[in-house]
């Protein structure tokens, strides 16, 4: 850990982590702040992709080649394990997205909207009868 905050080498040397942080926070922010159910899923995808990038970049070794055995005994290989892990995580991500979209389709069919505010208002009406929603109980 460098003492100086403005150590250019430190900042640039960790640029993959900065990218990860920015992407991750963007995704998380969209997931939390947007009221549109589809946009929330988009945010979730960005969030997950950020994690994929974190894993992939940590397996990369500067000057390393793809981890396929070559005759050269001095060859440096990138670490394949994080990449393989991320293949699994991508599959999980796709399954999550597919399920989420399927749910949104069903929500659209039954509620007629994909806006969270409208849905909350309807649910409030179902529970307490017509009135001004306070938006408290979001579950």
């Amino acid at each position: 850990m460098q003492a100086s905050i403005l150590d250019l080498e430190y900042v640039l040397g960790h640029y993959n982590y900065w990218m990860f942080v920015i992407l991750m926070m963007t995704g998380l922010y969209i997931t939390v702040s947007r009221g549109n159910l589809i946009k929330k899923i988009v945010g979730l995808n960005i969030f997950q992709t950020a994690v994929f990038m974190l894993y992939i970049s940590m397996g990369k070794i500067i000057g390393g080649t793809a981890p396929i055995l070559v005759d050269d005994p001095d060859a440096v290989y990138s670490n394949p394990l994080p990449h393989v892990l991320i293949l699994t995580a991508i599959v999980v991500g796709i399954a999550t997205t597919a399920l989420a979209l399927a749910l949104v389709v069903r929500i659209r069919e039954t509620y007629g909207t994909v806006e969270e505010d409208d849905i909350l208002a309807m649910e409030h009406e179902m529970e307490f009868g017509a009135g001004v929603p306070h938006g408290g109980d979001r579950g």
Binding site: V51, M58, V92, A95, T96, L99, V104, I119, R138
Partner: protein, 502 residues
């Protein structure tokens, strides 16, 4: 043949329901898929029982998946603690599935039932996999298998109430954020150690010592699992998911899903990090302990004011998770014993209560408490089961709830934290209030005019009463459960101290 089965028991535990799931989907309508799923869950339970019998004495079974030796290959590691959790999970599935037939038949259209049981088996697979595996990334994969099927199961409550869809959606968003946090944490640990095997991680983290990467890894894992187990301020997905899911699903999830997440927490806190790890001990004491106490009170208070029985029980679950985390945060032998024994005791108690709620939904057509006036006379057996399980929830003597509270209070007194002990007892008083509300409505208020309610069918009553009987039996004779719990606790504490002493 028997020898072959015996050596491969840890693999069978997970593979059995996993392979059965697609077969179940192909069986087509109705009761065939139900019978198949039930048979599979009983087989799985037998496997878990034999694993528990083998490890009860302290043996640790290490199974190399596909013949690849750990730490490179994936290791399935069974000790007394996770065998105990495996037994809870598969046992609850074996009890809930016979109960599910009538309840599911009423709540889910016939042509979808085989898919429902498929998702149920997949959920079981995921939960068992999380518990049995000794590989950190494998935990994530199984966690997502169980979570994804859980979202589908919760959403299948939509035929009864369309709000199940939004409940499932919110659960999905929060669950995925939690799981992703967990992966980030594991990524951080992988960066500093270069391994994913839990036992190996423990050794290498100990050798690596303290660093900000390990801190971040710890925090991400804590928050990620905290979301999955509904740790107090992160519990927002739970009440809706539990109240709108089909009754059988709620009973199963309430008894198992959060318990498995607690197990993962225990495993990471103690085996992987080791609690002598200063940063972690401080986090548990300064953050988790106050939140656990807050959960005990806040969630119980909210439960008192709920009209829906399932929702009330869901909030009570959040409070009970508070007790479980409290025992963990004590960081002592007795505290851990309380946590582990409460995993079992709460599974039995809450499983029974949610199953009773399911009986009301089926026979009385409502789970609203005000709609259940006088139900005690129409459905005497169901309501009696509620009363006994309710006693256990409060923690009255001769029930399992008392055993948990006893260990918990003892753990607090051992540390000299008598205010905490008093708070534990005070929060039990709140449980009396919300349980009494239901009992009072069911027995002392006149039934509404023109309502006919019949007693629940035996196929539902028998599983309910098995759980109720267990909550009494293990409340009087707690030898097996407390021995398993204290051995599990000793082992956790032992594993962390051995690693940190050298």
């Amino acid at each position: 043949m028997m020898a072959l089965i015996e050596t491969n028991l840890p693999a069978l535990q997970v593979v059995l329901p996993l392979v059965a799931a697609p077969v179940c989907a192909m069986l087509g309508r109705g009761s065939r898929s139900w019978a198949f799923a039930t048979a599979v869950s009983w087989l799985t339970f037998l496997v878990a029982l034999s694993l528990f019998a083998k490890t009860f004495g302290g043996t640790i079974i290490s199974y190399e998946m596909g013949g690849w030796a750990p730490p490179i290959g994936i290791e399935y590691r069974v000790d007394v603690l996770n065998a105990f959790v495996l037994m809870i999970v598969s046992g609850m599935a074996a009890i809930v599935l016979p109960y599910a037939r009538r309840s599911v038949a009423a709540e889910i259209p016939a042509e979808r039932q085989s898919f429902f049981y498929t998702a149920f088996l997949l959920c079981l697979t995921g939960l068992l996999g999380v518990t049995i595996t000794g590989d950190a990334f494998n935990v994530f994969v199984f966690l997502e298998i169980s979570s994804l099927s859980t979202y589908a199961l919760v959403a299948s409550g939509a035929w009864r109430n369309k709000r199940a869809l939004t409940a499932a959606y919110n659960y999905l968003i929060m669950g995925t954020v939690g799981a992703t946090f967990f992966v980030i944490g594991i990524g951080m640990l992988y960066m500093v150690t270069g391994t994913l095997n839990m036992a190996d991680l423990a050794v290498r983290i100990a050798a690596h010592g303290d660093s900000s990467t390990v801190h971040m890894g710890f925090v991400f894992i804590l928050i990620g699992i905290g979301l999955k187990l509904a740790m107090f301020p992160l519990h927002l997905w739970l009440p809706n998911a539990y109240s709108f899911a089909p009754s059988a699903v709620t009973a199963f999830l309430a008894a198992t899903a959060t318990k498995v997440a607690v197990y993962v927490m225990l495993r990471f806190m103690f085996t992987v990090f080791g609690f002598d790890y200063e940063f972690q001990a401080a986090t548990l004491e300064m953050v988790v302990l106050p939140l656990a106490i807050l959960a005990m009170f806040a969630a119980s208070l909210v439960a008192i004011f709920q009209d829906d029985l399932k929702r009330m029980l869901a909030y009570s679950s959040v409070a009970q998770i508070g007790y479980i985390l409290l025992g963990l945060a004590f960081l002592t032998d007795t505290g851990l014993t309380a946590t582990i024994i409460h995993l079992f005791n709460h599974a039995v108690t809450k499983g029974a209560l949610f199953m009773v709620a399911g009986c009301y939904v089926l026979m009385a057509g409502t789970s609203s408490i005000s709609g259940l006036r006088g139900v005690g006379r129409d459905m005497p057996w169901t309501t009696a089961a509620f009363v006994v399980a309710g006693f256990s929830l409060i923690g009255l003597p001769l029930t399992v709830g008392f055993i948990s509270k006893w260990y918990l209070v003892q753990a607090a007194l051992e540390l000299g934290w008598w205010p905490v002990a008093l708070l534990i007892m005070a929060s039990s008083l709140l449980a009396i209030v919300y349980v009494w509300r239901v009992v009072e409505t069911a027995y002392l208020q006149p039934a509404p005019e023109g309502v006919t309610r019949k007693e629940a069918p035996p196929s539902m009553l028998i599983p309910v009463w098995i759980l109720v009987a267990m909550s009494i039996w293990f409340g009087i004779n707690a030898m097996t459960t407390s021995a398993a719990a204290s051995r599990g606790g000793n082992m956790l504490i032992g594993s962390s101290q051995i690693l940190w002493e050298d």
